[in-house]
C-alpha cells in the first residue's frame, strides 16, 4: 500500500479534510452571496446566487464534505467525531479573518480559544490510544 493511499483512508485524516471542505464551502458561499445581484422580491430564496460560479464550487465542497463525513462515521464513534468536527467553528472565523479581511473581536477570540481547548480535551485520550497501536 502506498503512503498516500494509507493517509487518504485514515478516518482521522478524512475528518480533518471534512472540516476543511465545510470551511471552504462556507467562505465561498459568502463570497458568492455578496457578489449576487439583488433582485427585488426574490432575495429571500437565495436562488439568484446560483448565477455565481463561487456558489457552484461551494456546492461541490458541501457534497465532498458529506462524503467525507459518511466515511468518518463508518470508522469513528459519533460521540467523538461530532465534537471534533466542530473545529469548523474555529476554521471559519479564521478563514474569514485571513481571506475576507473580516474583523474578529476579542470576545470572539476567547470563544475560539475555548473551542480549541475543548477539542484538545476530547482528542487527547484518542491520540494516546492511537500511539499505542
Amino acid at each position: 500500500m502506498s503512503d498516500a493511499f494509507r493517509w487518504s483512508t485514515n478516518p482521522w485524516f478524512v475528518l480533518v479534510l471534512e472540516a476543511i471542505f465545510v470551511t471552504a464551502s462556507e467562505v465561498l458561499l459568502k463570497v458568492g452571496a455578496s457578489k449576487t445581484r439583488r433582485v427585488e422580491g426574490w432575495e429571500w430564496t437565495g436562488l439568484m446566487s446560483l448565477a455565481s460560479i463561487w456558489i457552484w464550487v461551494a456546492i461541490v465542497f458541501v457534497i465532498l464534505s458529506f462524503i467525507c463525513w459518511i466515511y468518518v462515521l463508518r470508522h469513528i464513534p459519533l460521540s467523538i467525531a461530532f465534537p471534533l468536527s466542530n473545529v469548523v467553528h474555529v476554521l471559519v472565523p479564521l478563514s474569514c479573518w485571513i481571506f475576507l479581511g473580516e474583523h474578529i473581536s476579542e470576545t470572539r477570540w476567547c470563544g475560539i480559544a475555548i473551542v480549541v481547548f475543548g477539542i484538545a480535551v476530547v482528542a487527547r485520550p484518542i491520540a494516546k490510544i492511537e500511539e499505542k497501536l
Partner: protein, 111 residues
Amino acid sequence: MAIFIFIIEIASVVAGQLWLKRAMEESNRLGFRDRRVLTLFLSGVASLTISFFLTIALLQHFDLSFFYPIQGSTVVLIVLAAVVFLREKLSLPLLLGSLLISIGIVIVSLS
C-alpha cells in the same frame, strides 16, 4: 410556535446524525445495498434535510446571533444521544471537552 420549531430542528439534527451513524455501522456488516442500511441512510438524509429548511425558516424570524448559540448545544446533545441510543462510551474528557466546545461556540456567536 417558534420554540416548537426550535425543538423539532434540534431533534431532527440529532436523529439525522444517529441514523447516519447506524447506517454506516450496519453497512460494515451488510453492505450498502441492504434494505435496512438504505432505510437508515435515507432517514438520516431526510432528517438532516428537514433541519436544514427549518433552520432557514427560523433564520427568517430570528437574528443569527440569537439562533447560533442554540446550534452550539447540539454538540452536547449528540454526544449524550450517541451514549444513550448507540451505547457509545462516555468518558469524563469527552463530556468536559464537548461542554467546552459548546460554551466556546456560544461565545464565538455572542460577539
